[in-house]
Subunit: 180 residues, 2 copies
Amino acid sequence: MGRPAQIDRAAVVAAAMAVADEHGLAALTMPAVAGRLGVTAMALYRHVANKEDLLDALVEALLPAPPPDTAALPWRQRLEALAGAVRDSAARHPAVFPLLLQRPAATERARRARDGVVSALREAGLGPEAAARAERLISTAVLGFAASEAAGRFAHHDQRVRDEDFACLLEAIGSLLPPA
Amino acid sequence: MGRPAQIDRAAVVAAAMAVADEHGLAALTMPAVAGRLGVTAMALYRHVANKEDLLDALVEALLPAPPPDTAALPWRQRLEALAGAVRDSAARHPAVFPLLLQRPAATERARRARDGVVSALREAGLGPEAAARAERLISTAVLGFAASEAAGRFAHHDQRVRDEDFACLLEAIGSLLPPA
DNA sequence: ACCTGAACACCGTTCAAGT
DNA sequence: ACCTGAACACCGTTCAAGT
């Protein structure tokens, strides 16, 4: 019958992110998302399987695509750019970001981000096992810092202090790797 | 009228933890908690302000009291014991633990744990500012690792690999501090 | 003082029915 | 194909009423 679709999955995910950004995770309900799209809650179920699926899509959207203009940089700067992109994503979506540590994303995009880190570490001279382990620990530290900041765990410190904290974290990570 | 209380706040929190441990965070409802105590959901509201308050109490309960028999140990072992206690707490309550990074605990107990780390770092020779900063970064890394493990972000690696990851993390932290 | 029954607003979800 | 109305089970919460 080819009725033209009023919404699609991307629009649902974007609307959900906007609701969460503006009113917090507790306000992220199916009616609220639908309302923002000018549609009833039931219409969403043609585009997402259920609310869990929608939350997973949000988490997926939090992972920054690797900034493409950094592809040619030396590994150290590439890692720093990626870490900065993660932190920026948390700053943009503070209400949703903590979900990233709660529902591990096992998606294509997540794998790609991981591979980017691992290959930078291999360039740094680590063996395959060591690089995989270092990726886990570095990602955990960066994700943990970004989630903490987003959740307001450092809220009593101002931006400058937190920037220095983050620089310190990057330096600590860097000191574990070969110089270059 | 002094009717003897059937339940108290501690019992409510303990029941909530048990429900979450056994059936997951999604199953943590007021009726479920009440049911486990042989009481109706409305009875809970005399002991917790609301569900948010109950979740905050759960988060509080996740923070390990510093293992008392380690008080006399040198600072390095004390830090390691505390980190291990955090990881153990996450292993005991994997469903609830990720909330710790989502709702920062600003309680007495949280402050005490923080102070324990800071004073160990001061013993290590750091100045007040450096110790405070190192505490933030170390806590973030340890909490992030424990939350990741609890949420299953490393689920495809077995226990032994994760133990080595954790040992690696501790070593990385230790290498940032003076030897001792 | 502490608990319960009844009640309300609300949410996630299904399904048949409309276009 | 896509959306809506009606409906269901369920949840958080309040409040008057019981003991």
